[in-house]
Protein backbone atom coordinates (compact mmCIF):
# COMPACT_ATOMS: atom_id res chain seq x y z
CA UNK A 1 0.00 0.00 0.00
CA UNK A 2 1.43 3.36 -0.99
CA UNK A 3 -0.17 6.60 0.05
CA UNK A 4 1.35 9.12 -2.30
CA UNK A 5 0.02 12.39 -1.05
CA UNK A 6 2.68 13.16 1.53
CA UNK A 7 5.68 12.15 -0.51
CA UNK A 8 8.01 14.56 -2.22
CA UNK A 9 10.42 13.28 -4.87
CA UNK A 10 14.09 14.24 -4.84
CA UNK A 11 16.21 13.73 -7.94
CA UNK A 12 19.94 14.37 -7.66
CA UNK A 13 22.33 14.82 -10.56
CA UNK A 14 24.88 12.02 -10.73
CA UNK A 15 27.80 14.45 -10.79
CA UNK A 16 30.63 11.92 -10.91
CA UNK A 17 33.03 14.35 -12.50
CA UNK A 18 33.04 17.18 -10.00
CA UNK A 19 33.07 17.60 -6.20
CA UNK A 20 29.79 19.54 -6.36
CA UNK A 21 28.12 16.42 -7.82
CA UNK A 22 29.20 14.35 -4.85
CA UNK A 23 27.86 17.05 -2.53
CA UNK A 24 24.48 16.97 -4.30
CA UNK A 25 24.35 13.19 -3.94
CA UNK A 26 25.36 13.17 -0.26
CA UNK A 27 22.99 16.04 0.58
CA UNK A 28 20.13 14.22 -1.15
CA UNK A 29 20.81 11.06 0.84
CA UNK A 30 20.96 13.07 4.08
CA UNK A 31 17.43 14.35 3.39
CA UNK A 32 16.15 10.90 2.41
CA UNK A 33 17.78 9.09 5.33
CA UNK A 34 17.89 11.62 8.15
CA UNK A 35 16.10 14.95 7.68
CA UNK A 36 12.81 13.96 5.98
CA UNK A 37 12.82 10.13 5.72
CA UNK A 38 9.03 9.74 5.90
CA UNK A 39 8.21 12.49 3.44
CA UNK A 40 10.61 11.80 0.59
CA UNK A 41 11.37 9.29 -2.18
CA UNK A 42 14.03 9.25 -4.89
CA UNK A 43 14.82 7.79 -8.29
CA UNK A 44 18.12 7.57 -10.18
CA UNK A 45 18.08 10.33 -12.81
CA UNK A 46 19.52 8.16 -15.65
CA UNK A 47 16.63 5.75 -15.14
CA UNK A 48 14.38 8.27 -16.88
CA UNK A 49 16.18 7.39 -20.11
CA UNK A 50 17.07 3.77 -19.31
CA UNK A 51 13.76 2.82 -17.75
CA UNK A 52 10.22 2.63 -19.02
CA UNK A 53 7.11 4.72 -18.87
CA UNK A 54 6.60 3.72 -15.24
CA UNK A 55 9.78 5.52 -14.21
CA UNK A 56 8.87 8.54 -16.30
CA UNK A 57 5.66 9.10 -14.32
CA UNK A 58 7.79 9.95 -11.25
CA UNK A 59 7.56 13.75 -11.39
CA UNK A 60 3.87 13.53 -12.24
CA UNK A 61 3.20 11.39 -9.19
CA UNK A 62 5.36 13.36 -6.78
CA UNK A 63 6.14 17.07 -6.56
CA UNK A 64 9.85 16.83 -7.30
CA UNK A 65 12.88 18.76 -6.10
CA UNK A 66 15.93 18.45 -8.31
CA UNK A 67 19.40 18.81 -6.84
CA UNK A 68 22.16 19.87 -9.20
CA UNK A 69 25.88 20.15 -8.63
CA UNK A 70 26.50 22.83 -11.23
CA UNK A 71 24.87 25.34 -13.54
CA UNK A 72 24.37 22.74 -16.25
CA UNK A 73 21.35 21.65 -14.18
CA UNK A 74 21.20 18.10 -15.57
CA UNK A 75 18.75 16.92 -12.93
CA UNK A 76 16.36 19.80 -13.54
CA UNK A 77 16.55 19.59 -17.34
CA UNK A 78 16.50 15.76 -17.48
CA UNK A 79 13.54 15.54 -15.10
CA UNK A 80 11.55 18.11 -17.06
CA UNK A 81 12.43 16.47 -20.39
CA UNK A 82 11.41 12.95 -19.44
CA UNK A 83 9.08 13.15 -16.46
CA UNK A 84 7.61 16.50 -15.50
CA UNK A 85 8.44 20.02 -14.37
CA UNK A 86 10.18 20.02 -10.99
CA UNK A 87 8.61 21.88 -8.09
CA UNK A 88 11.98 23.46 -7.25
CA UNK A 89 15.71 23.11 -7.87
CA UNK A 90 18.62 23.42 -5.46
CA UNK A 91 21.97 24.14 -7.15
CA UNK A 92 25.06 23.37 -5.07
CA UNK A 93 27.13 26.14 -6.63
CA UNK A 94 24.46 28.66 -5.59
CA UNK A 95 24.67 27.49 -1.99
CA UNK A 96 28.45 27.57 -2.25
CA UNK A 97 28.34 31.30 -3.01
CA UNK A 98 27.11 31.79 0.55
CA UNK A 99 30.34 30.16 1.82
CA UNK A 100 33.08 32.28 0.15
CA UNK A 101 35.90 30.73 2.18
CA UNK A 102 35.11 27.17 1.19
CA UNK A 103 36.70 25.42 -1.80
CA UNK A 104 35.39 21.98 -2.64
CA UNK A 105 38.21 19.61 -3.51
CA UNK A 106 37.14 15.99 -3.19
CA UNK A 107 34.68 14.09 -5.33
CA UNK A 108 35.20 10.89 -3.37
CA UNK A 109 36.23 11.30 0.27
CA UNK A 110 34.69 14.41 1.79
CA UNK A 111 36.63 16.41 4.37
CA UNK A 112 34.95 17.49 7.63
CA UNK A 113 34.36 20.92 6.10
CA UNK A 114 32.84 19.42 2.97
CA UNK A 115 30.56 17.22 5.10
CA UNK A 116 29.38 20.27 6.97
CA UNK A 117 28.64 21.97 3.65
CA UNK A 118 26.72 18.89 2.43
CA UNK A 119 24.59 19.19 5.58
CA UNK A 120 23.93 22.84 4.75
CA UNK A 121 22.79 21.88 1.23
CA UNK A 122 20.61 19.16 2.77
CA UNK A 123 18.94 21.79 4.95
CA UNK A 124 18.15 23.83 1.82
CA UNK A 125 16.59 20.77 0.19
CA UNK A 126 14.59 20.00 3.34
CA UNK A 127 13.15 23.55 3.25
CA UNK A 128 11.97 22.94 -0.30
CA UNK A 129 10.46 19.60 0.79
CA UNK A 130 8.47 21.44 3.45
CA UNK A 131 7.27 23.99 0.90
CA UNK A 132 6.18 21.23 -1.48
CA UNK A 133 4.37 19.41 1.34
CA UNK A 134 2.45 22.49 2.37
CA UNK A 135 1.57 23.15 -1.29
CA UNK A 136 0.15 19.63 -1.41
CA UNK A 137 -1.89 20.29 1.70
CA UNK A 138 -3.35 23.41 0.06
CA UNK A 139 -4.19 21.39 -3.03
CA UNK A 140 -5.90 18.75 -0.92
CA UNK A 141 -7.97 21.41 0.83
CA UNK A 142 -9.10 22.72 -2.55
CA UNK A 143 -10.01 19.17 -3.61
CA UNK A 144 -12.10 18.92 -0.47
CA UNK A 145 -13.97 22.12 -1.39
CA UNK A 146 -14.67 20.81 -4.86
CA UNK A 147 -15.93 17.43 -3.73
CA UNK A 148 -18.16 18.61 -0.81
CA UNK A 149 -18.85 15.01 0.16
CA UNK A 150 -15.18 14.11 0.45
CA UNK A 151 -15.37 11.30 -2.09
CA UNK A 152 -12.37 9.40 -3.35
CA UNK A 153 -12.14 7.83 -6.80
CA UNK A 154 -10.95 4.24 -7.07
CA UNK A 155 -9.57 2.95 -10.37
CA UNK A 156 -8.61 -0.70 -10.94
CA UNK A 157 -6.65 -1.95 -13.94
CA UNK A 158 -9.14 -4.85 -14.17
CA UNK A 159 -6.60 -6.80 -16.27
CA UNK A 160 -8.54 -9.62 -17.92
CA UNK A 161 -5.55 -11.71 -18.90
CA UNK A 162 -4.04 -12.24 -15.47
CA UNK A 163 -5.35 -13.77 -12.23
CA UNK A 164 -4.20 -10.72 -10.25
CA UNK A 165 -6.16 -8.50 -12.65
CA UNK A 166 -9.31 -10.23 -11.48
CA UNK A 167 -8.30 -9.51 -7.88
CA UNK A 168 -8.08 -5.76 -8.63
CA UNK A 169 -11.71 -5.69 -9.81
CA UNK A 170 -12.98 -7.85 -6.96
CA UNK A 171 -11.28 -5.72 -4.33
CA UNK A 172 -12.57 -2.35 -5.62
CA UNK A 173 -16.13 -3.73 -5.89
CA UNK A 174 -15.94 -4.70 -2.22
CA UNK A 175 -14.91 -1.13 -1.35
CA UNK A 176 -17.53 0.77 -3.37
CA UNK A 177 -20.38 -1.66 -2.70
CA UNK A 178 -19.80 -2.83 0.85
CA UNK A 179 -16.99 -1.22 2.81
CA UNK A 180 -17.13 2.49 1.88
CA UNK A 181 -20.10 3.04 -0.46
CA UNK A 182 -20.56 6.64 0.70
CA UNK A 183 -16.96 7.66 0.29
CA UNK A 184 -15.58 5.73 -2.68
CA UNK A 185 -16.53 6.23 -6.31
CA UNK A 186 -15.59 3.66 -8.93
CA UNK A 187 -14.30 4.89 -12.26
CA UNK A 188 -13.68 2.25 -14.89
CA UNK A 189 -10.98 2.52 -17.50
CA UNK A 190 -12.83 2.12 -20.84
CA UNK A 191 -14.87 5.35 -20.49
CA UNK A 192 -11.67 7.19 -19.60
CA UNK A 193 -10.00 5.84 -22.71
CA UNK A 194 -13.06 6.76 -24.73
CA UNK A 195 -12.89 10.31 -23.37
CA UNK A 196 -16.23 10.33 -21.56
CA UNK A 197 -16.17 13.73 -19.87
CA UNK A 198 -18.10 12.77 -16.71
CA UNK A 199 -15.34 10.35 -15.81
CA UNK A 200 -12.40 12.47 -16.88
CA UNK A 201 -13.75 15.37 -14.79
CA UNK A 202 -14.06 13.09 -11.79
CA UNK A 203 -10.44 11.96 -11.91
CA UNK A 204 -9.18 15.49 -12.48
CA UNK A 205 -11.04 16.90 -9.51
CA UNK A 206 -11.07 14.15 -6.91
CA UNK A 207 -8.21 12.32 -5.22
CA UNK A 208 -7.61 8.97 -6.95
CA UNK A 209 -6.46 5.59 -5.62
CA UNK A 210 -5.14 3.26 -8.31
CA UNK A 211 -5.06 -0.53 -8.06
CA UNK A 212 -2.68 -2.31 -10.42
CA UNK A 213 -2.38 -6.03 -11.05
CA UNK A 214 0.99 -6.18 -12.78
CA UNK A 215 4.21 -4.26 -13.35
CA UNK A 216 2.76 -2.47 -16.36
CA UNK A 217 0.72 -0.44 -13.88
CA UNK A 218 -1.86 0.52 -16.50
CA UNK A 219 -4.26 2.14 -14.04
CA UNK A 220 -1.58 4.42 -12.63
CA UNK A 221 -0.21 5.34 -16.05
CA UNK A 222 -3.63 6.10 -17.46
CA UNK A 223 -4.57 8.36 -14.56
CA UNK A 224 -1.27 10.21 -14.84
CA UNK A 225 -1.77 10.62 -18.60
CA UNK A 226 -5.31 11.85 -18.08
CA UNK A 227 -4.19 14.53 -15.63
CA UNK A 228 -5.59 12.82 -12.54
CA UNK A 229 -4.34 13.37 -9.01
CA UNK A 230 -3.14 10.07 -7.60
CA UNK A 231 -3.14 10.08 -3.83
CA UNK A 232 -2.77 6.38 -3.16
CA UNK A 233 -1.59 3.30 -5.01
CA UNK A 234 -2.02 -0.42 -4.47
CA UNK A 235 0.26 -2.85 -6.27
CA UNK A 236 -1.51 -6.21 -6.04
CA UNK A 237 1.60 -8.39 -6.61
CA UNK A 238 3.09 -6.84 -3.45
CA UNK A 239 -0.12 -7.53 -1.52
CA UNK A 240 -0.21 -11.12 -2.81
CA UNK A 241 3.34 -11.60 -1.59
CA UNK A 242 2.59 -9.97 1.75
CA UNK A 243 -0.48 -12.13 2.42
CA UNK A 244 0.91 -15.22 0.66
CA UNK A 245 -2.36 -15.65 -1.26
CA UNK A 246 -2.97 -16.24 -4.96
CA UNK A 247 -6.19 -16.58 -6.99
CA UNK A 248 -6.93 -19.75 -8.93
CA UNK A 249 -7.09 -18.28 -12.43
CA UNK A 250 -7.89 -15.17 -14.47
CA UNK A 251 -11.58 -16.10 -14.46
CA UNK A 252 -12.02 -17.62 -11.01
CA UNK A 253 -10.78 -16.20 -7.73
CA UNK A 254 -11.12 -19.30 -5.57
CA UNK A 255 -10.96 -19.11 -1.77
CA UNK A 256 -7.42 -17.71 -1.63
CA UNK A 257 -8.12 -15.10 -4.31
CA UNK A 258 -11.29 -14.11 -2.47
CA UNK A 259 -9.35 -13.73 0.77
CA UNK A 260 -6.68 -11.67 -1.01
CA UNK A 261 -9.36 -9.38 -2.51
CA UNK A 262 -10.84 -8.90 0.97
CA UNK A 263 -7.47 -7.96 2.42
CA UNK A 264 -6.78 -5.50 -0.38
CA UNK A 265 -10.27 -4.03 -0.05
CA UNK A 266 -9.52 -3.37 3.63
CA UNK A 267 -6.29 -1.63 2.63
CA UNK A 268 -8.13 0.54 0.10
CA UNK A 269 -10.84 1.37 2.65
CA UNK A 270 -8.19 2.40 5.11
CA UNK A 271 -6.62 4.66 2.45
CA UNK A 272 -10.04 6.17 1.70
CA UNK A 273 -10.53 6.92 5.42
CA UNK A 274 -7.11 8.43 5.71
CA UNK A 275 -7.58 10.62 2.63
CA UNK A 276 -11.05 11.81 3.54
CA UNK A 277 -9.93 12.67 7.07
CA UNK A 278 -6.90 14.54 5.81
CA UNK A 279 -8.78 16.44 3.13
Amino acid sequence: MTLTKWKVGIVSCSGEEIPEGTISRVATRLVLDKLRPDETVTICLPLFLAGGEGERTFAKLFPTITVDGCEKRCAEIGTEKYSGKPFATVVVTDVLKKCPNLTLKSRDKLSAEEWKFAEKVAEEIAKKVDEASSRQDEQLRSEKQWTEKGKIVVVACAGMDKPLGLVTSASVFKVVEALRPQKAELVCIPPLLAGVSTYSELIKNLPVITVDGCAERCATKLIVKSGGKIRGRIFVPDSAKKHNLLPESASHLGPNGEKLAENIAEEIASMVDSLTQET
Binding site: S12, P46, I77
Partner: protein
Protein backbone atom coordinates in the same frame (compact mmCIF):
# COMPACT_ATOMS: atom_id res chain seq x y z
CA UNK B 1 44.50 14.48 -22.95
CA UNK B 2 43.81 14.56 -26.70
CA UNK B 3 40.61 12.97 -27.91
CA UNK B 4 40.65 9.21 -28.36
CA UNK B 5 43.59 8.80 -26.00
CA UNK B 6 41.76 8.04 -22.83
CA UNK B 7 39.07 5.63 -21.75
CA UNK B 8 35.95 6.98 -20.12
CA UNK B 9 34.76 5.12 -17.04
CA UNK B 10 31.09 5.87 -16.44
CA UNK B 11 29.26 4.56 -13.39
CA UNK B 12 25.51 4.67 -12.90
CA UNK B 13 24.27 7.36 -10.52
CA UNK B 14 22.93 4.66 -8.19
CA UNK B 15 21.59 6.92 -5.48
CA UNK B 16 19.09 4.38 -4.20
CA UNK B 17 21.34 1.39 -3.55
CA UNK B 18 24.67 0.43 -1.98
CA UNK B 19 25.57 -1.26 -5.25
CA UNK B 20 25.44 2.14 -6.97
CA UNK B 21 27.92 3.55 -4.47
CA UNK B 22 30.19 0.55 -5.09
CA UNK B 23 30.21 1.37 -8.83
CA UNK B 24 31.01 5.00 -8.12
CA UNK B 25 33.82 4.13 -5.68
CA UNK B 26 35.26 1.65 -8.19
CA UNK B 27 35.28 4.40 -10.81
CA UNK B 28 37.20 6.81 -8.57
CA UNK B 29 39.62 4.02 -7.65
CA UNK B 30 40.43 3.50 -11.33
CA UNK B 31 40.41 7.13 -12.45
CA UNK B 32 42.17 8.70 -9.45
CA UNK B 33 44.48 5.92 -8.28
CA UNK B 34 45.00 2.92 -10.56
CA UNK B 35 45.05 4.37 -14.10
CA UNK B 36 44.88 8.17 -13.78
CA UNK B 37 46.87 8.76 -16.99
CA UNK B 38 44.61 6.80 -19.31
CA UNK B 39 41.17 7.30 -17.89
CA UNK B 40 38.60 9.94 -17.09
CA UNK B 41 35.05 9.95 -15.87
CA UNK B 42 32.10 12.09 -16.82
CA UNK B 43 28.68 12.74 -15.35
CA UNK B 44 26.14 10.23 -16.60
CA UNK B 45 23.45 12.85 -16.02
CA UNK B 46 24.95 14.93 -18.84
CA UNK B 47 24.07 12.11 -21.21
CA UNK B 48 20.57 11.86 -19.84
CA UNK B 49 19.95 15.50 -20.68
CA UNK B 50 21.77 15.26 -24.03
CA UNK B 51 24.74 17.60 -23.42
CA UNK B 52 26.49 18.02 -26.81
CA UNK B 53 30.10 18.14 -25.51
CA UNK B 54 29.57 14.97 -23.53
CA UNK B 55 27.90 13.21 -26.45
CA UNK B 56 30.91 14.06 -28.61
CA UNK B 57 33.29 12.82 -25.91
CA UNK B 58 31.64 9.41 -25.51
CA UNK B 59 31.53 8.94 -29.29
CA UNK B 60 35.23 9.77 -29.72
CA UNK B 61 36.59 7.79 -26.77
CA UNK B 62 36.20 4.17 -25.66
CA UNK B 63 33.75 3.87 -22.77
CA UNK B 64 33.47 1.35 -19.95
CA UNK B 65 30.29 1.47 -17.88
CA UNK B 66 29.82 0.22 -14.33
CA UNK B 67 26.23 -0.42 -13.28
CA UNK B 68 24.99 -1.07 -9.79
CA UNK B 69 21.77 -2.85 -10.61
CA UNK B 70 20.09 -4.77 -13.44
CA UNK B 71 18.41 -1.58 -14.71
CA UNK B 72 21.84 -0.90 -16.31
CA UNK B 73 21.32 2.84 -16.57
CA UNK B 74 24.94 3.64 -17.43
CA UNK B 75 25.13 1.05 -20.20
CA UNK B 76 21.74 2.00 -21.64
CA UNK B 77 22.45 5.74 -21.56
CA UNK B 78 25.78 5.25 -23.38
CA UNK B 79 24.19 2.93 -25.92
CA UNK B 80 21.24 5.25 -26.49
CA UNK B 81 23.74 8.09 -27.08
CA UNK B 82 25.72 6.00 -29.64
CA UNK B 83 28.83 5.99 -27.43
CA UNK B 84 31.88 3.77 -28.08
CA UNK B 85 31.04 1.21 -25.43
CA UNK B 86 33.82 -1.39 -25.21
CA UNK B 87 32.71 -3.13 -22.03
CA UNK B 88 29.96 -2.91 -19.46
CA UNK B 89 30.34 -4.14 -15.90
CA UNK B 90 27.64 -4.94 -13.41
CA UNK B 91 28.40 -4.84 -9.69
CA UNK B 92 25.80 -7.56 -9.14
CA UNK B 93 27.85 -9.93 -11.33
CA UNK B 94 30.98 -9.27 -9.28
CA UNK B 95 29.02 -9.69 -6.06
CA UNK B 96 27.80 -13.09 -7.28
CA UNK B 97 31.42 -14.23 -7.42
CA UNK B 98 32.30 -12.64 -4.06
CA UNK B 99 29.31 -13.34 -1.87
CA UNK B 100 31.24 -12.50 1.29
CA UNK B 101 31.54 -8.87 0.15
CA UNK B 102 27.97 -7.76 0.75
CA UNK B 103 27.85 -3.97 0.59
CA UNK B 104 25.85 -1.90 3.03
CA UNK B 105 25.30 1.87 3.28
CA UNK B 106 24.88 4.41 0.50
CA UNK B 107 26.60 7.56 1.67
CA UNK B 108 29.20 5.57 3.56
CA UNK B 109 29.96 2.01 2.53
CA UNK B 110 30.86 -0.74 4.96
CA UNK B 111 34.36 -2.35 4.63
CA UNK B 112 32.93 -5.18 2.51
CA UNK B 113 31.48 -2.61 0.11
CA UNK B 114 34.87 -0.88 -0.20
CA UNK B 115 36.56 -4.20 -0.89
CA UNK B 116 33.92 -5.06 -3.50
CA UNK B 117 34.66 -1.69 -5.16
CA UNK B 118 38.36 -2.63 -5.21
CA UNK B 119 37.53 -5.95 -6.90
CA UNK B 120 35.38 -4.22 -9.53
CA UNK B 121 38.15 -1.64 -10.07
CA UNK B 122 40.70 -4.43 -10.69
CA UNK B 123 38.35 -6.04 -13.24
CA UNK B 124 38.01 -2.72 -15.03
CA UNK B 125 41.77 -2.13 -14.99
CA UNK B 126 42.30 -5.52 -16.64
CA UNK B 127 40.13 -4.44 -19.57
CA UNK B 128 41.86 -1.05 -19.75
CA UNK B 129 45.27 -2.69 -19.94
CA UNK B 130 44.13 -5.18 -22.56
CA UNK B 131 42.69 -2.35 -24.61
CA UNK B 132 45.85 -0.27 -24.28
CA UNK B 133 48.21 -3.13 -25.11
CA UNK B 134 46.30 -4.84 -27.89
CA UNK B 135 44.56 -2.11 -29.76
CA UNK B 136 44.64 1.58 -30.32
CA UNK B 137 42.33 3.62 -28.20
Amino acid sequence: MPKGEYILIIPCSGIGKSLGTVGRKATYKVVDELRPKNTRTTCLALLTMGDQDTLRMIRENPCITIDGCPAKCAQKNVEASNGRLIRSFSVTDTLRNHRDLKPDGIIELNPEGHELANVVAREVVKIIDETKNGKSL
